[in-house]
Amino acid sequence: MAKVHVSTTINGEPSEFLCEPNDTMLDALRGPLGLTGSKEGCASGDCGACSITLDDQLVCSCLMLAVESEGHELRTIEGMAKGDRLHPLQQKFLESAALQCGICTSGMLVASDVLLRRNPKPSEEEVRFWLAGNLCRCTGYDKIVRAVMETAAEMQGAAQ
């Protein structure tokens, strides 16, 4: 089977890669693109550890074919910090101990970032339902929900 050539934009950079027609976007990210921050926990869209954005839409990269990225813009955890300056969510997760093993953290952060861009002042319930597609087995979600809400409050404060 001949590989397919794909041109896309990842974290703002034009990127090209070769993949099998049936490779998932997650396969391509973790394989030829070397972006292993997105994790595979289930390969069925249930755990959210592979969360990325496709043209600002939150998607499970395990449910998307790699070839579907042609001409689109992807964002992954690797693009969240600007150089050595962490995103406020990343900083808050660190300060709030909103991670334990860390395997879900990439997906949690990507999903939380999309939430706050759409809804800068989410209620606890909105955070909980938005993150319901991101499994965490270590934390019981308590510190994650708090970190997202505190980040939202601080970003609001900074914007004013």
Binding site: S38, A97, R137
Partner: protein
Amino acid sequence: MNVVTDNKWIGQRTIRPDGVDKVTGRAAFAADTNMPGMIWGKVLRSPHPHARIKSIDTSKAEALPGVKAVVTARDIVEFPLDKSVMLGIQDMRWMCRNVMAREKALFPGHPVAAVAATTEAIAAQACELIVVDYEVLPWSIEIDDALKPDAPILHEFNKFEGKVSNIAGRLEVKKGDIEQGFAEAEVVVERSFATRPVHQGYIEPHACLISVGADNKTTIWSSSQGQFMVRAMTSLLTGIQQSDIRAIPAEIGGGFGGKTIVYLEPLATMLAKKSGRPVKMVMTREEVMRATGPTSGSKSTVKIGARKDGTIVAAQGTFYLQAGAFPGSPIRGAVGCSFAPYDIPHVLSVGFDVLSNRSKVAAYRAPGAPIGAYAVECVLDELAEALKMDPLELRLKNAAKQGTKAAHGPVYPRIGYIETLEAAKASDHYKAPLGKFQGRGVASGFWFNAGGESSAQVNVTEDGNVVVTTGHPDIGGSRAGIANICAELLGIDYRRVSVLIGDTATIGFSNLTGGSRVLFASSIVVTQSAEKVIQTLRERAAKIWEIDPEAVKWENGAAHPVSPNAGQFEPLTLAELAEKAPSMGGPIGAGVQLNTQGADGGFGTHIADVEVDVDLGIVRVIRYTAIQDVGRAIHPSYVEGQLQGGVSQGIGWALNEEYIYNKQGKVDNPGFLDYRMPVCSDLPMIDTIMVEVPNPKHPQGVKGVGEVPLIPVMSAISNAVYNALGKRFYSLPMSPPKVLEVLDAPAPAQAAE
């Protein structure tokens, strides 16, 4: 309560050493690395719950272009059935047969062969070309089926009371005279309970990447709860000596006990050895669910007798736990922990290890203890009701304390169980009003905790900072705790301390991350290493000042004269002493290796509020408080995190999680969609109250905290559901169909006596 206020770093919520890597995607987990020339391994697994393997023909698979190696049981070291070879609690007779089926396949998902090929797709295709001639045998999965007189026998050599049996072991814990005890009782409650197998549910599937040289020099990159366990088991199962194996611990994406044994590493090692290429293997979620250890399903009967004043006089428990395909269910936890929070004169606690055609159980957070506590703490709730006592008062009246002789052996030192009960009673939560279809339940739990072997090395860098290396995979923030302790002892900012997990070639033997032992044990060896470093620093300063080392003290990260009498010298900082090290005696560092002793058991008490949707049968936890004697919270955020995470797993076990089997004996829900772990919208905030009764045998007062928080959850929720509905449940999970069934039933199944 011990509240130490003069610590600078111990007790602070510092940033974890591995934090930035984990929030930026840099952290390397098991599946995140590659090697030049790497190929892919896949496992062929039995489709049958029970089948004799008559022959395996791998010739077609080997002939497939791209296939580089095939292994079967012939390539794995065999441990004969008649002689036990133990590694920790694991018997290599069972391990060698669990990683690769030998005489028989014993569960669907049991490996029968493995292939390495240039791509994953070719490896998978090659697996399909392997011809296995199975003689399919009758099977049993449920405990009742496995115990029937005519049940299919998994292991013909296994005898119980002289007869071939699926009972692989019996464990008894006894205190006093149980008959006499019940004769003294005025109120007796006896109930039977059942729980389903539940999986640890770590989000990271098992994975490894292994390279083997022609000289047998082996590099293993994998995530586990013990790189030394990986080295030892791989050595035993492949015949490669331990000194030739370098097991590198990747970041571990959750374990909860489930990564305390190997599955893939011996297979990948042999594939790499045969092919001469590095081999990577990554399980699918379905493989994780079918072939790695859940914890046991169980059947228990618990009987507790008390006087009318609430004094418990006798307690009896019988616990049957599913071991899966090989002996080794966690009966010790069920038998030993269940009655341990209480001072009861007459106790008889018996456990049975039951074989069945299901994957071999692996440890899961306080193995066995949650199963036992579920039964005991639910019976206590009924007993309190029969005695018209508050359930916390009943527990307080009978609480174990310093000097209590536990049925499982020890006489307790100073313990904090009563403090957890008092904190629960005093909490706002316990007094808060409840609404319609809402209920509150309480329960307690105990876990042994462990010490054991640990090694550490503390080195001062040339620029005067510190690198600490320990030997335990960090599963929940232990590096953050070590950084706090080391910074405290050396009197420097915690950001000047790097904490690393060494591989098997660079740090001394350290036992598993398990038994809630890591911070307890590693902080002992780190403390002793740091003390040696401080001694060296004092000696160096003394040499520079030309005074006696005893006249030098270490304070705030610098050497000072103990008093003006010792001389007038400007303090020498760590950086200054590091700079002078080459001319003053050489590098500064120290290592300590110990079999650590003095781990005290842990106690917790939980309060759960639930609300039941009586139309849909959905139980929602609406408020939860976990209270625990944590000894000393070195890093409070990660102690809270252990409590919150344990509670969350318990809520899943109580309300949704279970292995469901189809008529062919296969797990019918081997994925996260149907094996329903709690998601964010299922849970409330989980409140914690940390009671600190320091462990006097530990330099910082540390007690293990990781396992206790799972133990009381299922019973606390079960008791809350009763409080909400007036109907009791005697089996888990209390999932919507079961709740509706009980709500629709005309009368309770087991009336109170």
